[in-house]
Symmetry: C2
Subunit: 653 residues, 2 copies
Amino acid sequence: MDAVQQANSGHPGAPMGMADMAQVLWQDFLKYNPANPHWWDRDRFILSNGHASMLLYALLHLTGYPLGMDEIRQFRQLGSRTAGHPERELAIGIETTTGPLGQGLANAVGFALAEKILAAQFNRPELPIVDHYTWALAGDGCMMEGISHEACSLAGTLKLGKLIVLYDNNGISIDGKVRGWFADDTAKRFEAYGWQVQSVDGHDGEAVAQAIRAAKAEPARPSFISCRTIIGWGAPTKAGTAQTHGEPLGAQEVAAAKQQLGWTAPPFEVPGELRSAWNHEAAGRAAEARWQALYARYRAAYPELAPEFERRMRGELPASWLESARAALAAAQAVPGAQATRQSSQASLNVIGPALPELLGGSADLTPSNNTARKDSRTITPDDDAGNYIHYGVREFGMTAAMSGMALHGGLIPYGGTFLTFSDYARNAVRMAALMHQRVILVYTHDSIGLGEDGPTHQPIEQLNSLRLIPNLSLWRPADAVETATAWCAAIEHDSGPTCLVLTRQGLPQLPRSTAALALVRRGGYVLADCQGTPQCVVMATGSEVHVALEAVQRAQAEGRRVRLVSLPCTELFDAQDAAYRESVLPAAVRARVAVEAGTTGLWWRYVGLAGRVIGIDRFGASGKGPELLKKFGFTADNVQRAINEAIAGDVQ
Amino acid sequence: MDAVQQANSGHPGAPMGMADMAQVLWQDFLKYNPANPHWWDRDRFILSNGHASMLLYALLHLTGYPLGMDEIRQFRQLGSRTAGHPERELAIGIETTTGPLGQGLANAVGFALAEKILAAQFNRPELPIVDHYTWALAGDGCMMEGISHEACSLAGTLKLGKLIVLYDNNGISIDGKVRGWFADDTAKRFEAYGWQVQSVDGHDGEAVAQAIRAAKAEPARPSFISCRTIIGWGAPTKAGTAQTHGEPLGAQEVAAAKQQLGWTAPPFEVPGELRSAWNHEAAGRAAEARWQALYARYRAAYPELAPEFERRMRGELPASWLESARAALAAAQAVPGAQATRQSSQASLNVIGPALPELLGGSADLTPSNNTARKDSRTITPDDDAGNYIHYGVREFGMTAAMSGMALHGGLIPYGGTFLTFSDYARNAVRMAALMHQRVILVYTHDSIGLGEDGPTHQPIEQLNSLRLIPNLSLWRPADAVETATAWCAAIEHDSGPTCLVLTRQGLPQLPRSTAALALVRRGGYVLADCQGTPQCVVMATGSEVHVALEAVQRAQAEGRRVRLVSLPCTELFDAQDAAYRESVLPAAVRARVAVEAGTTGLWWRYVGLAGRVIGIDRFGASGKGPELLKKFGFTADNVQRAINEAIAGDVQ
């Protein structure tokens, strides 16, 4: 109450309503050590209704995490660690960034799945070194969001028995009492997902504790504990109203609440005895010490497995990685003829996968189309967790947010596929992976109108550029097998953000490339075909349009024009190169510029300038054969050559 | 089978598996007149699993819609009307474009909601002129998608008793048998939503018919009929396998299937007696004639209401509209001081709403934040359909797709609100509204880091530009009350695509504007403040950055520089102006250009060129006070003035 009041901004209702549940969980059940928020076998706690951030900050502060009262006083202020919504910062115990509703729940499914998979891979008889629970608090908003269906249906199917969700069933959302727009029997819904379901009074600590004990006792089903609560509990006149959701209570109501609760300490002061009762440092140290003893026995018994586990949890690539990467590139160079880049991608996976056990594959029910299965893929089923491939079902959003959860958990590098167009369904989860700097690899196939007959609903147009707009995201659109292998290696090595691999359905020829050019692919943009002297025109292209542009450039060169072709498989990476390199590829003096990409033209003006030409597609596609569509929309060597000639002519004028 | 085989592309499995269900529905229950696909009181049929398009084309062809066998032969070919996925074309009976899974189901919820609302508004005792059912076929993919939860939970809550969903429960999706990734008790799940639920053998026509009769007999609950089917039914070796989903059966299997089914006619030939049995023209004419007789009685009894109903169904604005629009603009001009554009938006709604009964408001549980309620708003509740405002709950995706369904139904102009960031959740539904050219108005508030303390999860960065990338979508980001009123009027009048109204949380000053400038706002971009002679520099800005830019321009002018300020509230509309107008606003000769917008810089290079400057934000925001954030990220008059000076200096060099 005091922090929200001081900030004059925030959400007091949910923290007050969930305080009782949280107290039971954090005092009696949650396994954590405030002195070491990185402890690998800690329980994971996710606040899916992230607007209740003040509850989390209070819990972290009171239990002994390094989050001082000075930070609590700075709630929601610029530069503080107590942001409006929790921002992942493991050093103070925040596991994941939440706020966009439902996504924390899907992250939690990913956390629990990661635990189950790693347990299957690393635990040994009597030595369960991976053995922790994933807890999520979630509100009515989370339950209304579609992603809660996707994630919780999957969790039930995969029998994530160590996932326990406490539902803050307060019946209030921003517009008021939810019964007018949310009349579900949510308990029944979760039973339909195969969960263990219990309903309790969320303000009755013993009832909550008993439900948690029953949840922990259930090994095969995730647990859903519906806690009936009163939002803003303790506020004498505002409790139970939507008003407490997103507004400070006001000084008067705060004072009255404190009086009613018998709280006499000044704001931001916690009486010593309460502070001692809450402090979890000793209990946390003891808990971790027990695990360390177990782990010491494990290390002694399995001297080869333990370092591998440590490597995995630290997120380091294996010593063999560079060799794998080299092998993938060599295999790509040896591809004799045309190949769809989705197939090139699968070929790369077949090379790098077997030596990279953390690489966890999957697809949102497009495995045969995304080519995401590799020869060493083994499906994770409800009863067999020792695999490395997940059939996520038709759940793009849930898949993507769960992948972030797995990456956040540690020990796994998740990749997952869908069609590029349906990245739209998952878009905010892609954004969240970027915001949290997570190594999540998104395999997006069927990347243009070139996919053909499925038509405009399935043909991406704006998606290439709209994904590039997301900060801290790398998008690769490789032009052939070599660029695809390079993109995969870059994605694996890029450990501070998500990577999108954008791949074709249709076959693409292998491009001729000098050894020097080969080494430059990793810079995101490079000269693929050059001319003698200063170019009269620079053509740039990506993916399936590079070979079309190459043909046009070769023809123009044959006609005596000095034209350069630049392949730009990853514009973000190219933009991050030093100015000298960028100038060496795209000389400022060359104003006649043409860009070619089977997507919206929007972002290309940055590279070609007002005088440039962009061959793109700014309307929806059509159903028809891929080659006919590409021709119809101008992705032909003839059209590119025409643009080259116009650009040179325009520059001379 | 033959059409897919001939195209060598497509999805035979679902059409064959659903043929039995479809036959029952289209022969014995569906109310339609093939000779008049526009009949207002027809039942609406939505194929949510749109990949089964060949089933729909076959039904339309056989029952007598103007879709000839020549079109069936051209299945999936460029220029045909039989695209890979059904594309809305009412002239041949296709109600909505489907393919992206789950969205047809959400469209159907919108259709059913529109029917219920219009019935409440227009029906009179004994004269139910609006009285039709909405039918949807949906598959396992639809059921896995999160949007099915959002839409169907809302449908249950709102008691859409005339919505009937037939679930093609074939247990197969692309990756194989769904039980490994989709183990829901879907019947129980729909019971939890408050639906009537029945389960039948989908190949038992009488059982399907009986279930449909029971569904029609249930007035208060939407109905869910789970039909157990075999995908690819009739294919002797491939039925029941994922292989039939998305690949032609092969000539041999087709021949064997025909033999097993006793089908002897050549491909694309329908024996005369079967054709007669299927033909629905006479029955359809009779059905519509009965309604026309009813409607004639209605028109006689309610001579004022009938023309209003006709106007509404034709999508024409009322005669009073221009007066409303003028009044809204006048009210906006009279706003004396600073106002958030979300408040300006509400003020406009208060003026135009009462005289525009088709304007159906709503919000995804952010009514008090989006300011979407107007003074004449009346909430639609489960038991009162005679309102004009829907609390959609926290369901952005479901809301948006349902809004498309309502627009497609006709008679309503839906608008709905959420935060701009959470447009991400609904992104593919926004795209579908654009693809279908539907008048759907999306009210997106909290449009920049200026929203403040809620932090980066809630602060849009890339959304402005990523929405602009969607073809056929208009995005307005007004700078003050006048531009907001103009944007609302443009949105109402724009009947061939969706409009996004992007609005601030924070207050903005009212801008000085000449009468000439006022008239030009509707062009999407105009000169707001000009200089004498040819400008040395043109500054362009949108929304909350216009007043900042204005201050900078005024200071630069005071220092003797010739600087012009252009406000660009709707870049799509500005781009659509003739070249002369665009040149009059942004003269090609002026190369010193500065753009200012609190979003990604990406699309602005098109307007400023390689030599230009863009003041934007290409990283995620932060939690803090809005004014502090805007300052921290450079949205200040000082910074704009610096850019003006640099641009002019750079141009002189």
